[in-house]
Symmetry: C2
Subunit: 620 residues, 2 copies
Amino acid sequence: MENKILKKIDSPQDVKNLSVSELEPLCDEIRETLIEILSKNGGHLSSNLGVVELSVALHRVFESPKDQIVWDVGHQSYTHKILTGRKERLNTLRTKNGLSGFPTPKESEHDAFATGHSSTSLAAAFGLARAKTIAGEDGHVVAVVGDGAASGGMFYEGLNNIGRYHDRPVVILNDNKVSISKNIGGVAKYLSEIRVRPKYFKAKDKIERFITELPFIGKWLRRRIIRSKSMLKYALYHSTWFEEFGFTYLGPVDGHDVNSLCEVLERAKFLNKPVFVHVETVKGKGYKYAEENPGAYHGVSCFDIQKGNGVNITSEGFSEAFGKILTRLGKEDASICAISPAMKYASGLNLFATEYPRRFIDVGIAEPLAVTCAAGMAKNGLVPVVAIYSTFLQRSYDQVLHDAAIDNLHIVLAVDRAGIVGADGETHQGIYDVAFLSTIPNVTIYSPSNITELELCLNMAIYDEKGVVAVRYPKGCPETVAERFDLSDTEKTLYKSRKDSVSCLVITYGREYAQCVKAIEMLEQENIGIDILKLVKLEASADVIDIINKYDNVIFIEEGVERGSVSELFGSELVKSGFKGKYTTRTLGNGFISHQTVNEALEEYKLDSKNIYKIIKETI
Amino acid sequence: MENKILKKIDSPQDVKNLSVSELEPLCDEIRETLIEILSKNGGHLSSNLGVVELSVALHRVFESPKDQIVWDVGHQSYTHKILTGRKERLNTLRTKNGLSGFPTPKESEHDAFATGHSSTSLAAAFGLARAKTIAGEDGHVVAVVGDGAASGGMFYEGLNNIGRYHDRPVVILNDNKVSISKNIGGVAKYLSEIRVRPKYFKAKDKIERFITELPFIGKWLRRRIIRSKSMLKYALYHSTWFEEFGFTYLGPVDGHDVNSLCEVLERAKFLNKPVFVHVETVKGKGYKYAEENPGAYHGVSCFDIQKGNGVNITSEGFSEAFGKILTRLGKEDASICAISPAMKYASGLNLFATEYPRRFIDVGIAEPLAVTCAAGMAKNGLVPVVAIYSTFLQRSYDQVLHDAAIDNLHIVLAVDRAGIVGADGETHQGIYDVAFLSTIPNVTIYSPSNITELELCLNMAIYDEKGVVAVRYPKGCPETVAERFDLSDTEKTLYKSRKDSVSCLVITYGREYAQCVKAIEMLEQENIGIDILKLVKLEASADVIDIINKYDNVIFIEEGVERGSVSELFGSELVKSGFKGKYTTRTLGNGFISHQTVNEALEEYKLDSKNIYKIIKETI
């Protein structure tokens, strides 16, 4: 790759300096660069290939950072990063200390607003634009939102609020006809209808012209028309939802025609009122494997460019196991249903969905509804299992509390990507769920450390518990360590080491169990015996507190935030019980964790086996 | 009042047994009963007067509990309660052990789904109806949702999902043209437009008939019409959003004409697909003071029926003080803005809104957007203050974390109705905010115990802190006690009692400070000196932990849930610091708290001064 044009681009100004004829070749070069780098680093391929022209057009027409671009969800911002002075660092994408895979104001002034979760861009743009108006500041605000994100309630809250002010945000709907899983519901249907509307509009124009130009009858009709002007506005002029919300609607525009895009964006820029630009794009555009199967190329690890192989098409580890277990349970029990907020494949639910389509619901990116809908199903006797990423469950806090827990409705939350998530970074960490779910009465939390336990936990969640039950498990595969417990009694099993004289107990759960076992194995090499208590059900029962009280030295190792943690709960229960020993905790503290591999993060936060070995050594 | 007809009604079946001519008089009797009882007990007057006929019609047409009615928000369910066997207990409304002011399945099988927060009914109805279809069960599902609730994102998520299934829920839009504060945004505008559409439809029908019936030109046009049939569907037939979402739209119907309502509901019932019924009602219908000023009569305490006085028209106590302080601060600082999710009056923001209309935004019942919009405004240099009830802030957990805290944007949350809320009960308790906000990094929490402190806290929140700052305060007025601290140093002030020999320390914050002081005063009468530590900023700094470590006996009194509480944090920090004394906590435990007065609840949970006196006595 020579990248003749791309090498001239170090800032948005350079995009403006190009000749019109250089724009298309620039897009080609960017596309090749993206495929090249993502084939090595992994990342969100399809969505980024879909917005190359749109990103170029945005930076040609608007003036970042004075004009602010908010990328909804944000994983489609790679071209934007290339164009805003970060192309040399693109090969560090999603790696420790490298570029984030999402817009991050800490990284660049061109990243106007931090995004990662879906459907927030209109609300953010509303605030940004209101502030500009209030402060009398210059500059435009642009929100770029995918059709998938349009299934989220915040998209609607944004539409509903923006249109009634005289600010001038530009909302760009990046309509690629495929959201992550599959585009769902009325909005998708509506968009597919307006995509074919231009012909209607043309036909309407013709009829209108015909009627008003008729020499004789025309006059008579014209009078009627004048008398019922408002009616005609509805009857003869085209109107979209977006216009009824107070936006000027422009589109649909071919999102791969960079010149048309520039034209429509120029128009939007100078309208001086809320504008809704409807852009049609193709996910995976320009890379045939991704175009053919955009879902599989949504998030990729490294792959072979020529052959297109090596892509993570299916889920693996805990997610896949969860899907298989639930499908097995669903065979025997017709009351089990599964709900996914647009994450069918990634959550491992594809098998369940294929086997029991009637009992599977993909609600779109609508996490609040997912939980309340589950509560409704539970009310009528079914056992709904909501498969949801830990980070997205944050969006359903009130629904878990208010719609499910208050009436003690029995729903199961299969909380995927719990704990550190790796390359996605701070917007996607699953390190809060234990803390925030714990604050809700009637919620039970299980945290299996391996697949066998996952199955036991799901069984207990469905058949033994009442109310809301969360079963949380990390991304990927469990690390294999010699199991020290009889898994048939998972709720509270204390492992006694072979040295009976020891006074040190390590308490942990989930993924950290393997790290702790490895640390203890290292200590056993030195003839130091340490006991370990693995929690599977995260509660501080009186029995467990009694057991702990027999030790002089207790260390709690936890992969989660500190405030509201289980280790904090145990600390408080211990002091109340009159514990006189030493209590040490190691958690993720109270901060945000940036993108890096899981192992790098565990090391940084001293939650890897070597550091656990060290802390034990220090305390004994 | 004789209540000739009402006295015959003990179940929904009795409504069906009435003659048509008895329906209107029944509604009159219900209305009188409502006014009578609410004038004594208080409650949601306007909204209940608005749905008398609708409630009667629903129970005449549908068969509860087989047919399930979900009342969105739920505070308009009094007539429903009267008709479903609870009329004799209506005088116990919102009192301890009496009827709840909201639908509560624990109370009656006719309360199909617990509601209290807005915009959940479509999601619940979606789940209930899906479950009926999946399980092959009989019965209909009806959601009754106000136009105010239609500004919430979950309303849209519900529309977006319901329409694509062959279930047959009936969504009734109770369009009273006034939501709690004022109807906001595109949806409100849209509804006001379709309310006047029937005349357009009629005019269109006329034109259409005229065109097709024209003997000569008509034929020519007809051909055109046939050729562009789909276009005409858009151009000449009426279509609403709701139809584009897959609903059959019926309406608008006069919501005070009980016979028309029965008719349209019968039609909806037998359509066997998702139906959207648009009902126009008048808030406060039938009681002139409430009709004239429905906002003031939204939630009332007791009032004089004849004179209409005694109603809580304005906010009081902390809310009012907050409004005045913010208005004062806003005068000096043009960067201060206020955002309210449809609670302008109740939050005390009316003054600010009048003084600085450009800097005030009512976003409708859209709590997620409220916070993200604030984050956007903060990004552009303003200081947005979101005034929000503690219970509704639960709906913005992810927005606080993901949209504001990650980028450490400086927004202020004025968390009203924090702590026990009294008669509204379990759906509205403000007892979780400390716990869930604590789990989010970059969030600071202040909990003033009186108005002077509230002002100091707001000042510190705006000028001294970074990131997200919550200032939380309870409903109503602070209790007056002799202040024991120099309020100029509010962050951490230890009160030393006059007896220096004591070894007991009570720690508390917020409303409980007054209760603790009263308890200590009682002990001082007995010559027992107790120290007290009042937290205003809820954090366990090393200094404070050092101070506490000087005591043998520490008691933490907290008006909040136990898990994730400040007392739990302190317990954990104490044990880690090697504290060897006795640590006792008293909190609200981990459950839901039903409707009763604040004082009754404090007594039940042993958080009143007498019980605090007792626990101190027990521990020393």
